[in-house]
């Protein structure tokens, strides 16, 4: 799918629907922006699995990465038009080997309900990455086969990569050791 086609389609749709609205460019029916030459798609949580499935069928056979970002201390960031910026963001990088392109998906995840449907059924390679995202950010994945901590010890409290997780203020604790004061 070339840029011109999509831009033309998107603007044609918009012209038909609403003359006032600025044309929102879309790919796989989700808004798209560009960041230093990379395509960035902005699906909602509900659209995530459908978008990934469509992209996989389209040649994005490999998942490179999946991780979280906590925007607690940087609320005014730019997101695609029509989207509400939430505290957490899930970033997924997919690779299309035929066209040699990487596409990023950025999913807004609200603080009040940090649950995202798992991509495990589409890309089994997300298993460890989703566990890491749960461990580090507390974003849990609905339908994941083994939603446990991966890097931190089993009994750990808190999610270290969250911005409100203290630095140097955490008592060092080990399983079975008396709690540090």
């Amino acid at each position: 799918m070339t840029d011109e086609n999509t831009a033309a389609e998107a603007s044609a749709e918009d012209a038909a629907a609403d003359d006032d609205a600025a044309p929102i460019e879309t790919r796989y029916d989700v808004p798209v922006t560009f960041s230093f030459g990379d395509e960035v798609l902005h699906p909602s949580r509900e659209q995530l699995v459908a978008t990934a499935t469509a992209m996989k069928a389209d040649g994005f056979v490999s998942i490179l990465d999946l991780f979280g970002v906590d925007y607690l201390a940087h609320p005014g960031r730019a997101v695609a038009e029509g989207l509400v910026a939430e505290r957490f963001e899930l970033v997924v990088t997919l690779m299309n080997h035929d066209t040699a392109t990487r596409t990023r998906l950025r999913v807004q995840v609200p603080e009040s309900d940090p649950v995202v449907p798992t991509l495990f059924d589409v890309y089994p390679g997300t298993e460890a990455a989703e566990r890491e995202t749960w461990d580090m950010f507390g974003i849990s994945f609905d339908g994941h086969p083994d939603m446990t901590r991966i890097l931190m010890p089993d009994g750990w409290e808190g999610h270290p990569l969250r911005k409100d997780f203290g630095i140097g203020a955490v008592p060092v604790h080990f399983k079975g050791a008396p709690a540090a004061k």
Binding site: T93, P160, L161
Partner: protein
């Protein structure tokens, strides 16, 4: 092709000689890490004749602190689960506290066998956000050094792989050759490992006098020794029996699990970022992308051995094509003033001080850049909020993804082959756990 849906079925139910593809669930043992430690699970043989065994984290062949929970049926591994996190030191969190100039000192400690690749990925991402490009000489120096680093990393693999297989002389040879490369690194960057040499905007220092002779000398020494490795190992029947047909994996499995690098290439899938999404000046040099055919341990061994030869080819071309010029960008925002200026100019002194205390500011945005490390695609994702520190710094570590394929390789193999499989996956636990 047979697909076994029922995780309870073992390989004996398949037609002999036919390749069995399993549903993903059946290769991975989903057991809690603390349950596996309890003594009952360790000693008791369950009703279905299986037994859970912990391997590592201090097992000598686990390359650091990888722990495997293996479900054994006699001598054969059925399901398994890699347990990681023993080296987790929160380096991504640390990265948020350090300025962009200090960043490479942090990321270089992730993949300690090939530190320059992490520095390169980090620097390329910061340069993307800044909208600058390192001068040509810096780019060629980066290529020269990362290819030398690929050699030293693969030589380290040959050494540890030899040791794991019981070829102890190979261990000594591998370490010996790697040491020669590290000595060149020490001369160029001042350090054998954790160089902090590739920085945003260029490299830390120009190449020292006599670098051409030094590098040519080690290339001339190492090249014939690779032929000795071939004589020692490649054709040897014991070596072949230990590696051939062991730990096979298909290209589809690798792609679905996000596996990259020599593991993916060993399945016959030709994918190398240096050729397919070129960065630096890789489109100007000639080299071959090596692929295997069976996806077994032997292919992975052979690919790494021959990639050393390809790297030597690239290094020789880098030496020939090295242009004169700046080794770091002449942008005053990013680069501190030269040492000589500090003595004569107050402004230069202040500027120097401010760059090293406050760091330079990077425009708001998010960017991802990736390089082909000896283990696969090593990427760096940075979110900048416009300050002098990354708001979020994430490293896409190839070993982290590559480890996920291990249960699929281990399934139905002998426990003695597990050592060969771990070794040829070549995980670096520093970057797995970060």
């Amino acid at each position: 092709m047979a697909i076994i849906d029922d995780p309870q079925l073992s390989s004996s139910d398949a037609v002999p000689g036919e390749r069995v593809y399993r549903r993903d669930g059946s290769a991975i043992l989903r057991i809690s890490e603390s349950d596996a430690i309890n003594a009952d699970a360790l000693t008791e043989v369950t009703a279905d004749g299986t037994m859970v065994v912990n391997m590592g984290p201090q097992h000598p062949s686990t390359h650091g602190v990888l722990r495997l929970i293996l479900e054994m049926e006699g001598e054969q591994v059925r399901r398994s689960k890699p347990v990681i996190g023993y080296l987790h030191t929160g380096m991504e969190k640390t990265g948020e506290q350090l300025s962009y100039l200090q960043g490479p000192t942090n990321v270089t400690r992730m993949d300690y066998a090939s530190p320059l690749f992490s520095e390169l990925a980090f620097s390329l991402t910061v340069e993307k956000l800044l909208g600058i490009e390192a001068p040509p000489r810096a780019q060629w120096i980066r290529m020269l050094l990362t290819e030398l680093n690929r050699m030293s990393s693969h030589l380290l693999f040959q050494a540890t792989n030899g040791m794991d297989m019981g070829a102890v002389s190979m261990m000594l040879f591998g370490w010996r050759e790697r040491e020669q490369v590290l000595r060149v690194f020490e001369k160029i960057s001042g350090l054998r490992m954790n160089h902090n040499y590739i920085r945003p905007g260029g490299v830390a220092a120009d190449l020292p006098d006599g670098w051409r002779e030094d590098i040519n000398e080690i290339l001339d020494a190492i090249e014939p020794r690779l032929d000795e490795y071939d004589q020692l190992l490649t054709g040897q029947p014991i070596w072949r029996n230990r590696l051939q047909g062991v730990g096979t994996v298909s290209a589809d499995e690798c792609l679905a699990l996000g596996v990259t690098g020599p593991l993916l290439r060993s399945t016959g899938y030709a994918w190398d970022l240096r050729r397919d999404i070129p960065y630096l000046n890789y489109e100007q040099v000639e080299f071959d992308v090596l692929v295997g055919g069976f996806g077994d341990c032997f292919d992975r061994y052979a690919i790494r051995l021959n990639e050393i030869r390809e790297s030597i080819r690239i290094v020789r071309q880098c030496i020939d094509m090295m242009p004169p010029g700046d080794y770091r960008i002449q942008d005053k925002k990013v680069t501190p003033p030269p040492r000589g200026r500090i003595d004569e100019s107050m402004e230069a002194l202040i500027h120097h001080f401010k760059i090293f205390t406050e760091g330079f500011k990077v425009p708001e945005g998010e960017a991802y850049a990736a390089v082909e490390s000896p283990r696969g695609e090593l990427g760096c994702y940075i979110v900048s909020d416009g300050s002098a520190h990354p708001y979020r710094m994430h490293i896409r570590a190839p070993s982290f993804s590559n480890l996920q394929v291990m249960p699929h390789m281990l399934q139905d193999s002998l426990i003695a082959d597990a050592v060969a499989i771990i070794s040829t996956v070549d995980p670096i636990m520093g970057e797995v756990d970060r």
